[in-house]
Amino acid sequence: MGVLTPQYLRDAPLVRRRIRLFFANGESADEVLLDFFERQSQGGPRGAEAVWALATKHCLRRVRDSDRRDLLVSPLPSDSWAAQSGAGEAPGMRALAHGWRSESPVMLEVLVYAEVDGMSASQIADVMGKPRGWVADLVRARSSTLGA
């Protein structure tokens, strides 16, 4: 028999929406969702920002552990910012799509927030709990690499 917990009922819709950016709907997305809650069953209530960041990290870890080539699903979910803004055609996003495996986990997380979610350095710093300057330096370093 399956079970529900208050945490699951509260957080699963958000986590599932985040997962859909990285995993196609269906069994694999559900499996990633359940795996997330097996790992995150301890701890008190968390706000949307914290759950969203944890879900992003979880998806990136799962994608990295797989043998797939693409970082994101194609086509992107129609209700995502990336699909709405046409971010898939932006140079930063194209570079990320091809070179994401060579990025460190932290850099990859920052780049996803910047390129896939359209967040500013301040917004990324808030979500990751890091200083704004630290995020800005990473984004700047990446931009100069792309420009070289």
Binding site: M1, G2, V3, L4, T5, P6, Q7, Y8, L9, R10, D11, A12, P13, L14, R16, R17, R18, D30, L33, L34, F37, E38, S41, Q42, G43, G44, P45, R46, G47, A48, E49, A50, W52, S78, D79, S80, W81, Q84, S85, D117, G118, M119, S120, S122, Q123, D126, V127, G129
Partner: protein, 284 residues
């Protein structure tokens, strides 16, 4: 967070979720809702998100939950955050759409037949008299229910002593190495922050363990996830619990902790928050 829009001026995915979970501060919610009402594509995204929040979830495996409840194989999420009582779609619909149309009728209402209804009315009056009598005799269960809800915000600190929890009141003595656990009583759901600071100004975040803003805690008496092991040298450890409006930034709150005296009455240091402080004299 800072600006609530993505770099192209549309809503962030994160903010769509925060809106649907009912977690935005009033000011940010007004901004996000205002944008969604004015921007067709963002409005569609919020509508789609609202559908997502209502669609069934797969059940968890039995090992994954803290407080399991039996579930059917597919579970409609309904109001997942427990706080979102009005759906986005209900909110965003024009007022005349959200109400069912009145039936088109010209019939007059049926007059009440008082003679036929008299026995029922007498019975209702009798029940009312009994209820009033029970209220005045002090055997009022609803009053007991009310008394269970805490009327003020307070923090309780415990340490384990010979296998059972011992409550430490303000100005108690504790030893370095003691592990402390916490409970809060809060009359209303509100973001909670608990942290400690010692004489050297060192701040330890207890709840939430990390992050930049305080996290919502439901009303009532409840244990706090998170503990503190006293460390460092002898002195006074101030354990501070704050129940604040949404959006309280933790770093801003902890920066004011130096104003808490080592003993005696503490002035209201966080004017927008309810505060409860326990100071412990720490010995080696």
């Amino acid at each position: 967070m800072n600006s609530r829009l993505a770099r192209d001026g549309h809503l962030l995915d994160l903010d769509v979720d925060a809106l649907l979970r009912g977690e935005l501060s009033l000011e940010h919610r007004n901004d996000v809702e205002g944008h969604a009402l004015a921007c067709i594509s963002c409005r569609r995204r919020v509508d789609k998100g609202d559908d997502d929040y209502r669609s069934p979830l797969p059940p968890l495996k039995a090992s994954a939950g803290l407080t399991p409840q039996p579930a059917e194989p597919a579970v409609p999420t309904g109001s997942p955050a427990g706080r979102r009582t009005v759906s986005w779609k209900e909110f965003s619909k024009p007022q005349n759409e959200s109400r069912p149309p009145k039936p088109a009728t010209t019939e007059k209402s049926t007059p009440v037949d008082w003679k036929r209804q008299a026995p029922t009315l007498l019975l209702l009056a009798g029940v009312l008299v009994v209820i009033i009598f029970m209220s005045s005799s002090g055997d009022d269960t609803s009053a007991q229910e009310v008394s269970r809800a805490p009327s003020t915000f307070s923090l309780r600190v415990y340490r384990e002593r010979e296998g059972s929890p011992e409550r430490l009141l303000d100005s108690s003595t504790a030893r370095i190495g003691d592990r402390l656990d916490f409970e809060v009583s809060t009359p209303k759901s509100a973001p909670l922050l608990i942290f400690s600071t010692n004489g050297q100004g060192e701040v330890k975040q207890i709840f939430p363990k990390s992050g930049v803003v305080a996290l919502e805690m439901a009303s009532g008496n409840q244990p706090v996830p998170g503990s503190l092991t006293l460390s460092g040298g002898p002195g006074v450890e101030r354990i501070i619990a704050l129940s604040c409006p949404e959006g309280m930034v933790i770093a801003e709150a902890t920066a004011l902790a130096g104003g808490v005296p080592e003993s005696g009455k503490t002035p209201s240091i966080w004017p927008d928050c309810d505060q409860s402080i326990v100071r412990l004299k720490t010995l080696l």
